[in-house]
C-alpha cells in the first residue's frame, strides 16, 4: 500500500515538474502543456489506427524479447558449460556488442528494406550479448558442490538441468528480463522509426514529419504506459513461474 502511494507520488511529482517547465520555464512548442498532450492522447485513443500501431509494436517487442530470452539462455548455458566454446565465441559476442545500431540498420535496410523484420533483428542483436554474458556468469556461479552431489547419486542430466541449473539461473534470468524489457521497447521504437513499416515508432515519425509536437508526446506517453504495463505483466508471470525455484 505504502509502496503504491510512493509510486503514485513519484508520478505526480514528475507531472508537476513537467507542467511548471512547460508553463513558466520554457513555454513554447518543445514541451507542450500537460493539458494539450492529454487532449491529443484522448484524440489518439479514439482512433482505431493507434490500437493497430500499438499492437504492431507490442508483438515485435514480445517476439524480440522471447528470442533474446530463449536463445540467450540456451546459448549462454552452452557457453557457460564449455570454456573452449566460450573462448571461441567471445570475440563474436564482443563484435556484435560493439557494432553500432546504425550499421545494423543500414544492413537491415539493404537486406529486407522497410518492414517488420528489421526492428526485431536489431532489438535481438542489441540485447543478445547481455543475455548471453549474464547467463554465462550465472553458470559460472553455480554451486559445484550440488553438481558433485548429483554426480555421486547418478542423477540423470535432464533432472540436474531442471532442478539445479535452472534454479541457480533464475536470479540471472530475472535480471535479464529486468534489463531487457525497457531496452527492447526503446530499440524497437527507434528501429520502427528508422526502418519500420508500422507501429508506434512509425506514428512518431509521421507526427514529427507534420511537426505535431503534442502528438509526439502523446505517442511517447502511450509507449511508456504500454512499456510499463508489459514490464509489470511479464514480471508477474516470471514471479509465478520462478516461484518453484525460490529458496523459501
Amino acid at each position: 500500500m505504502r509502496s503504491t502511494l510512493r509510486f503514485l507520488t513519484g508520478i505526480g511529482l514528475f507531472l508537476l515538474l513537467w507542467e511548471i517547465w512547460a508553463r513558466w520555464v520554457m513555454p513554447g512548442i518543445i514541451l507542450p502543456e500537460l493539458g494539450t498532450v492529454g487532449r491529443e492522447l484522448m484524440n489518439l485513443l479514439g482512433e482505431m489506427t493507434i490500437y493497430h500501431a500499438a499492437l504492431q509494436t507490442l508483438w515485435k517487442v514480445l517476439l524480440a524479447l522471447g528470442l533474446v530470452l530463449i536463445l540467450g539462455i540456451i546459448l549462454g548455458l552452452l557457453l557457460g558449460l564449455s570454456t573452449a566454446f566460450y573462448q571461441m565465441m567471445r570475440p563474436i559476442i564482443m563484435i556484435i556488442q560493439a557494432v553500432p545500431v546504425v550499421s545494423w540498420l543500414s544492413l537491415v535496410i539493404f537486406a529486407w528494406g522497410i518492414g517488420w523484420r528489421g526492428p526485431i533483428f536489431i532489438a535481438f542483436l542489441s540485447l543478445l550479448p547481455m543475455a548471453l554474458l549474464t547467463t554465462v556468469s550465472g553458470v559460472s556461479n553455480l554451486d559445484r558442490k550440488l553438481l558433485e552431489m548429483a554426480r555421486v547419486y547418478q542423477v540423470p542430466r535432464r533432472r540436474v538441468i531442471k532442478d539445479i541449473y535452472l534454479g541457480s539461473l533464475i536470479p540471472f534470468i530475472v535480471a535479464i528480463v529486468d534489463v531487457s524489457i525497457g531496452q527492447t521497447w526503446k530499440v524497437i521504437l527507434v528501429a520502427e522509426y528508422l526502418c519500420g513499416s508500422s507501429g508506434l515508432g512509425v506514428e512518431i515519425l509521421s507526427a514529427r514529419y507534420y511537426v505535431n509536437i503534442p502528438k509526439v508526446y502523446a505517442l511517447t506517453l502511450l509507449a511508456v504506459i504500454l512499456g510499463l504495463i508489459t514490464e509489470r505483466l511479464i514480471k508477474l508471470w516470471l514471479g509465478r513461474v520462478s516461484h518453484r525455484w525460490q529458496p523459501a
Binding site: M149, R151, V152, Y153, R159, G167, P247, A248
Partner: protein, 237 residues
C-alpha cells in the same frame, strides 16, 4: 546386496604434494570401516576416489556396485527444493514416508532447507543417502558439526538402519568413540603422504553403548596404538 571394495596400490598427489601413498585394502560386503588420521592425510581424497569423484594417479579401485551414497560433511541440499523434493531428486520412485519416519523427519517433508537447523539438514543429508537403498554408504565426517545429543541419536538411527539393510559402510571421522560405535574395523593413517598404519578390528557387541567399559578399553587401546605407531614412523627424506 552389500558392496565389496578392492583397492590395490593407489597413490594420489596434488602437484608435488603426495597425499596417498600406495594403499591396499579390501572391504567385504556389509563391513563397516572407519578411517582415522590426522588432518591433511588424504582421508576425504580417499573417499572421493572411492565415490568416483576423483581419479587415483596410479593403482585401481574395484567395486561390486554402482549404487553408492555419499553423506557429505556439509548437507549439500538444493536450497529451492523442500525436503521431499530433495529426496526425490536422487530417487523419484522411493517411498519417502518410510525413510522420513526412520530418521525422525516426519512432518518436515514440506520444509525448505533454510527452515531447518544444521542438525536437521544433516538428517536430510543422511535420508537422501539412505533413500537410494545404497550398497555402499560413504560418510565424510558426517556428524562433526552436530551437537552431542543430536549426533548420538543420528548415529543410533543410522546403526538401526544398518541392522535392517547390512550395506557396506566406509566413513571418515576424527571422533574415536564415533568410530568405535559405528565400525567393525578402523584404519589408522599416518601423516601425509598417508599410509595405512594399522588395521584395527573392533571386537564389540553389535548393540553398543558409548558408556560400555569394553568400548572405552578399545578407545584407550586405539589411542595408545595411534601414538605408538606414529612415533615409530621415521621422517621421510
Amino acid at each position: 546386496m552389500a558392496a565389496s571394495v578392492d583397492i590395490k596400490q593407489i597413490c594420489k598427489a596434488y602437484g608435488r604434494l603426495q597425499v596417498i601413498d600406495g594403499w591396499n585394502l579390501s572391504i567385504n560386503p556389509g563391513e563397516r570401516v572407519a578411517v582415522l588420521g590426522p588432518s591433511g592425510a588424504g582421508k576425504t581424497t580417499f573417499l572421493r576416489m572411492v565415490a568416483g569423484l576423483e581419479q587415483a594417479d596410479t593403482g585401481r579401485i574395484q567395486m561390486s556396485t554402482n549404487r553408492t551414497a555419499f553423506v557429505f560433511q556439509e548437507p549439500r541440499l538444493i536450497p529451492w527444493r523442500n525436503v521431499k523434493d530433495n529426496l526425490r531428486f536422487v530417487n523419484p520412485s522411493a517411498d519417502i514416508s518410510a525413510i522420513l519416519q526412520q530418521l525422525r523427519l516426519e512432518g518436515f517433508q514440506d520444509y525448505m532447507p533454510s527452515q531447518l537447523s544444521g542438525g536437521m539438514q544433516q538428517r536430510v543429508n543422511l535420508a537422501r543417502a539412505l533413500i537410494i537403498d545404497p550398497e555402499l554408504l560413504i560418510l565424510d565426517e558426517a556428524f562433526t558439526s552436530l551437537d552431542l545429543p543430536f549426533k548420538l541419536t543420528l548415529i543410533r538411527d543410522l546403526l538401526d538402519y544398518w541392522h535392517q539393510k547390512h550395506f557396506t559402510m566406509l566413513m571418515v571421522t576424527h571422533d574415536l568413540k564415533e568410530a568405535l560405535y559405528l565400525a567393525d574395523r578402523i584404519l589408522v593413517l599416518s601423516n601425509a603422504p598417508a599410509r595405512i598404519l594399522h588395521d584395527f578390528p573392533v571386537r564389540l557387541d553389535e548393540h553398543r553403548s558409548f558408556s560400555d567399559p569394553e568400548l572405552l578399553r578399545h578407545e584407550s587401546q586405539l589411542l595408545d596404538l595411534m601414538y605408538d605407531q606414529m612415533n615409530k614412523i621415521p621422517p621421510r627424506s
